[in-house]
Amino acid sequence: MTTKKQKTVKWGEEPKIGWVEAMYLPAIASGVATALKHAFSGKPTTRQYPDVEPEIPPNYRGVHRLNRDEAGRVKCVACYMCQTACPANCIEIIAAPAPKDDPHWKDRDKFPETFTIDELRCIYCGMCEEACPVDAIELTSIYDLTGMTRAEMVFDKEKLLSVFDETSTTGKDPIRTHRGALGPASEEAASAKQGPPPPGRGRHG
């Protein structure tokens, strides 16, 4: 954590894969071994959900959150990149000029007046997270999303910010590996320990 900037992106390391692992044969063998072990061990292997909650990896793609910047404002700049990238058309943003008279918003030009995500329509592909140039939208590891009505499942800006507050205080911050490289406009990319990956190392490189 830097002194000035509050980091919202947590970096993780991908395991390095050697040529043995790249063949996938050891993984297949160990998978078959596990299956055989369970088949003949005689012990039940049913997961006791919801009594015992499963361990969700931090790079899981669950409910979205909208990050706050160091001043506590919504980090989103309403560039519509996520809405453009979204293959399910579940994001809807209405942008507005930032209130220039308000000293709190002085250094910002544009902000999302409304930001809604239809969590039912979303396919949790993570494209919005990848498209975001300022790391404002992230997918958390919250997986047990329930609701009584459809309207309840359409998350607005406040609700998405509250997901940030909840996950950032409980240490459930989502994790980024260098596969989900940050855009060049991201502050985090420069301050991240390893920096953004060199060109050609990303998912599409």
Partner: protein, 568 residues
Amino acid sequence: MAKVIVNDIEVEADAKDNCILAARKAGVEIPHYCWHESLSVVASCRMCLVEVGEKKPDGTVVMGPKLVPGCQTPVKEGTVIRTDSAKVKTTQQMTLELLLLNHPLDCSICDQAGECYLQDYTYKYGKAQSRLDEPKLQRVDKYHIGEQIALFTDRCVMCTRCVRFTREISGTAELQVVNRGSHEEIDVFPSEPCNNKLAGNVVDLCPVGALCSKDFLYKKRVWWLKNAGSVCTGCSTGCSIHVDQNEDKVYRLRPRENPLAQGHFMCDEGRFGFKYIHDERRLKTPKVNSSAVIDTNAQKSKTNGTSDLNFADPWLEVLSVTRTKIKEAIKTDARGFVGVLSPFMTLEEAYLLASYLKGLDKRVRLALGPVPVVGKDDKYPKGPKGESPAQEKVKFTIRAEKCPNRLGVEAILKHFEGEVVTLEQVASKGDSTAWYFVGGSSQGWVTEATDRAVGKPSLLIVQDIFPSPLSERADVLLPSATFAERDGTYVNHSGLAQAAHGAVRCPGDARADGRILMELAERKGLFNAVALRKEIALNVPSLSALAVGDLGDHGVGVAVAKKEVVHS
């Protein structure tokens, strides 16, 4: 004509062309910021630097020792232009790196992103990295430039297109460059904002996101917008425009270059005057006899209470009732039936209505609706004291006649009626018993005098977009469409027939006039402007130039223009 060789491609260029235009003819793009076809040349952005040489009559090619700005270099017979050499490409990269030195790279919040020449040229000709280690200069945004214009100072590349526009085209000279070197900025004099009637054009002229329209600011990202080529209906100049829409909402109008109509620009009156398209007060439901609302959907869902998904068409009944009523009225008193054609109608609509009514009975009279004239023709560039320029120096005119198609409708009227009779002339005779009014104006066109002159006819049909005293007591009310919602042809002040294409759908149950009239006249098929134009060309000799059907982007001249009416 001069033979010019651009990257080994031989083209015939005009002797007046500069290198950019000559290269364009060869299909080669020379990137440029400061040069604009209708503004003077300053050659200040250095983006169009190219290698220029000459092919001697004996076949040897001699290239100039240094690069020259393509915008400033005229071509002649045997000029050789190279834009693909390593020298040119390196220079382009360096120029872009310098232009981007202090650029904030805030594309994510910039309205221009998606149609920005900095983005496009950097992608095509630039290099990805900047070598600047110093912090970038930060400048204050200026929201005081004009009522409709905001300046994001740090995005500016100092091409001074906007400054030259206000000096050369509008003549008002509000904008200027202040400070020097890398501290140069565009600004206005204190308390002299850029609010002239052509001010909106500087936003289009700005090749980057520095000058933004406050009206469009942050409303929509441009890549969501789809555009349709249309014609501005604000005055009889008939500027070619793009109607930019998304999900049936019009977000902005932009001028479409048309040397035959208005050139590159349009006035703010037209540019920002489209808001009435989405006005809440628009007429949306067809009605018969005012009291008896034929809203089949509402009635059905009220009676059985269950089905909200009943999409019965209210128009079927309204139009068949209208047809019967028109026929009855004509049978009783054919001479007393008056069709009033508005100068806001397209040629096709005027033709459909005129031919339908005249086809029922030759004695039916047709009249021209009120032609709105406001003030005088407003000519640009203005002189230093705001005076109008001499006729030969006029670069842009906002005309006093605030309707798009008076000449076209008059041509139709002359064909069917023999002469152009105005509404006042018909009304003053006082022998009319039934009226078919077509409106279409964004302003209230029904004056008290009109209302009184119409009196209490036996049949009053009103086809309009806004409620008026007439529409309130109409026996039949047909909600129609604005210019953005319909296809058709408008004939401007000089007799140029331009095709307009619909961009959005009508609100509620309103329909495009052409569709209403096609069904009213029980013509086969759907409304098709191209087919109708061909039919008009066959039947109306003065409009025979429409026989081409597709008028293209620039339109075709028709032989209806008489001596131009100048309101001054």
